[in-house]
Symmetry: C2
Subunit: 514 residues, 2 copies
């Protein structure tokens, strides 16, 4: 049973529990819906258990059978993890080529999810997301590619920062990262072998994966989705070009270990098109491997540097896009009929590289523009505090985007403010189909005739002319950067001209009243 | 002889002189190069001289013959205007179907241009402009579509504003304008007839054209190019759909009257694609008419609302584009191999319409982005001071973009500051072809290895890494919005890291020193 540290002062409860069983030791165990049932088995440690031993378990509920692969965790320990998706009695039986692991049977009772557990996130209403229990999920993501590889001390600071409630998703790499501002070696390596270049790809390092699992569980306890990047090119170890057999073994091992975590998303790659050793056929095979192995259908995406992957493929659940043009979300929605997340639209920061020096105003603007066009947007932060005369490659600076730590910027607070507004909406917000703003191309989303959000970008109009339905509406003027909300005195209906503050970053919240 | 009022305090000299002759009254007249030789002839006023009488003159210089159409100016007055392009003796002879106007002969001496007279502007070095005497011309334009139609009082205020030296080009319509914020009727109409709808398109109103000529001459005296818009759709008089015969007569009359003004540019249309009555074939014919009639080959462009006209046509001298993406100039340069002017990239202002509410920061940013990508950018201003609850159509506000008057904004001063920087460059600035900024996609233009300008947009990098040639350079940090220039103490050569102020709108000026 893993007890996760709690970083929210005054809200320190036990969450994210893994029920870890030694098989047959307990019967009638209770497992909370969408949490992890874990079965530990003892087996052989000689030879190479990673490749010699096959193990999976069939979990059956009301005649419905789900198979989950097990994995070798070192020291003769074999584990099968499973996330029950239905309440009630489940029975299971193991299958293995190793006699001692085969035909182990048991059962457990899946109990209702507790209040903070809404299950995994799925696509809902074509362009949006919801948890499995139907609760709406609006991704307000951030990016910290290699935070899990920086060691416990900094990792714990990162978790504490994330407990600030700014974000509910984080993009993070499984493999360690070698890139500007991140030249240090990781805490663990994924394979046995000799860094940097001689790996035994047939032998995984359980410590590496346990470290990631610990962090995924912590994220889950904070209500944060772990958007796990399975491949990337920021690599001097060779993990981006292991060859297809090793790729497959890695993916199967990873999915076996992680798919039972309800907050896992699969991001097949970051900037897939920078991995020169992989062809489109390789990526298709990788996508197929992950989606076939994953018993739960976790969200799956693939992020590009230049050329958007073919998002018409059914295994890809949503469009994870790198582009600063978040206001063009309508084009991507129309093209793919899937949710659109601008996971990378440049980062707030001050580094000299173009993608890492947005002002906080512009970062917040990109969020509002994307969201009010029916998409979602992700954050990242790249502030250096070192003297600029030092080359970035030699920097020991801790940039959030790569290593985590603390946030030094100004946008995260505005994003949190924005999140409260969007999460308070009465329903799924879709681009408004009538000429609310007399056809002007500003972001405008709404729920039925009940509720609208309009955003005027960084423009400075002194007024807005609204064409509202024939109901009574209350209007609030939102200063998205200064985080103020001011309600106008009147009721509004039909055509109305509203005075605006003539400054950048203004939005309107328009809500039907009786 | 027209003496133009001078609005520059302390610099009140006589410029822009038209030499107006009654033929045969004087011989051996002197006419300054690129100024106007004007011949006035008396002829019949009965019938319809606008269509009954043909008149042109052949001007001959060193065996080279140039024909210039004359025009009827009312009251039995016939005028031929001519801009001599070479110094020395010119002879001329008129040709007409009217005996009293035919075979009138004379000569004049073309004297050297005086200091402020550089001749008409031409394309130079593919992507740029120069006056006929070779002096570089960098268009820093503005827009005031209907300023000449607002009457003398406001028109004079506009000229006084223009004398502030912010701009050296102005886009302005020949036809009056009927559009939001401009619902008043014009000072004059171009044709005889009954407003609004019953016109005799065969009879021009000379007062209408004389008013425009007066303003063109005033602009010339201020060193401002008159980018004359020949057609537009903001029209409730029908001038946008007169039919091809009337179009041709109008164009020939206009070119006969105006082409001798050295500061005239032909902008065939503003938003040509909004004139639904004209086909591509119509536009091609209009372009052909203007370029055939014009003896001097003035610059000629056609401005779009949505679809860029086919700028590969040889009669179109440069790309006059409506787009806010001034940083994408490289695409248009590569596509057309012509100068690119973003004549409309939205306007600084506060009106509710999307195109008219840029902050001054963003207007200045669009200038710097375009110029540092090898293009040129035009200004416009749309500030309303009226209560916002009044509909824009009923507004009496004087918006610079339409009526002229005074400038209320903040960008024009920054554009003037920018102009001093660009005009001080030692040569034609072209996009830098070597990785000056290590390949980062910021605007960077330069002249040989002598001089570079780099612009960091509205980003906030704390440093820049420069890869300079192996010379010594002085570097200045320009705050484009706060209009400061700070020279760094060191000399720089090769790879250098420069500390920047970490704020939006920063540029570098890099100049070779000994």
């Amino acid at each position: 049973m893993v007890l996760v540290d709690c970083y929210r002062p005054g809200l320190c409860i036990i969450f994210s529990i893994i029920f870890s069983l030694t098989v047959n030791a307990q019967q009638n165990q209770k497992v909370e819906r969408w949490s992890i049932f874990e079965m530990k088995l003892k087996g052989p440690s000689n030879g190479n258990p990673f490749i010699d031993i096959n193990l999976y378990a069939e979990f059956t509920y009301a005649g419905k059978k789900i198979s989950a692969d097990g994995f070798y965790d070192g020291d003769g320990n074999y584990i099968v993890r499973f996330m029950p998706t239905e309440e009630g009695e489940w029975i299971y039986v193991t299958k293995s080529n190793e006699k001692t692991l085969n035909e182990r049977k048991g059962q457990f009772i899946c109990t209702p999810a507790t209040k903070r557990n809404h299950g995994p996130v799925k696509v809902q209403e074509t362009y949006h997301f919801a948890y499995a229990d139907g609760t709406r999920y609006l991704p307000f993501g951030t990016t910290s590619y290699a935070w899990v590889h920086q060691g416990d001390s900094l990792g714990n600071v990162t978790v504490k920062t994330l407990a600030g409630g700014y974000f509910n998703k984080i993009r993070m790499c499984i493999f360690p990262k070698n890139y500007e501002y991140n030249r240090n070696e990781p805490l663990f390596y994924p394979f046995e072998g000799k860094p940097l270049t001689s790996w035994d790809y047939t032998r995984f390092n359980p410590d590496f994966f346990r470290n990631i699992e610990k962090r995924i569980a912590q994220l889950d306890s904070l209500g944060i989705q772990a958007d796990l990047i399975l491949f990337h090119s920021y690599d001097h170890w060779g993990f981006q070009k292991m060859g297809s057999d090793n790729d497959s073994r890695y993916l199967k091992y990873l999915v076996a270990r992680l798919s039972a975590y309800k907050n896992v998303w699969w991001s097949i790659a970051n900037e897939y098109d920078l991995l020169e050793s992989k062809s489109k056929a390789d990526w298709d095979r990788i996508i197929a491997t992950v989606s076939t192995q994953d018993p739960y259908g976790h969200l799956l995406s693939i992020h590009q540097a230049y050329e958007l992957y073919d998002h018409s493929k059914s295994s890809i659940s949503h469009v994870s896009v790198q582009s600063e043009a978040t206001h063009l979300a309508g084009d991507l929605r129309a093209r793919y009929h899937k949710p659109v997340i601008y996971d990378e639209c440049r980062y707030e920061g001050n580094i000299r590289i173009t993608w890492g020096n947005l002002t906080p105003q512009e970062m917040v603007n990109k969020f509002w523009r994307g969201f009010t066009k029916g998409a979602y947007v992700g954050h990242g932060e790249t502030y250096t505090t070192e003297k600029p005369l030092r080359a970035s490659s030699a920097s020991n600076d801790i940039l959030w985007w790569s290593k985590g730590g603390i946030l030094k910027g100004m946008s995260q607070t505005r994003i949190k403010f924005m999140r409260t507004i969007f999460e308070a909406a009465p329903g799924t917000l879709e681009p408004v189909q009538f000429p609310l703003l007399k056809g002007l191309d500003y972001g405008a989303i709404g729920f039925k005739e009940d509720y609208f959000l309009v955003y005027f970008n960084l423009d400075q109009p002194v007024s807005a002319e609204l064409s509202l339905p024939d109901n009574n509406y209350a209007i609030e003027i939102i200063d998205t950067y200064n985080m103020s909300i001011k309600r106008l005195d009147d009721k509004f209906s039909g055509t109305s001209v509203i005075k605006l503050p003539q400054k950048p970053g203004i939005a309107l919240r328009i809500a039907k009243i009786n």
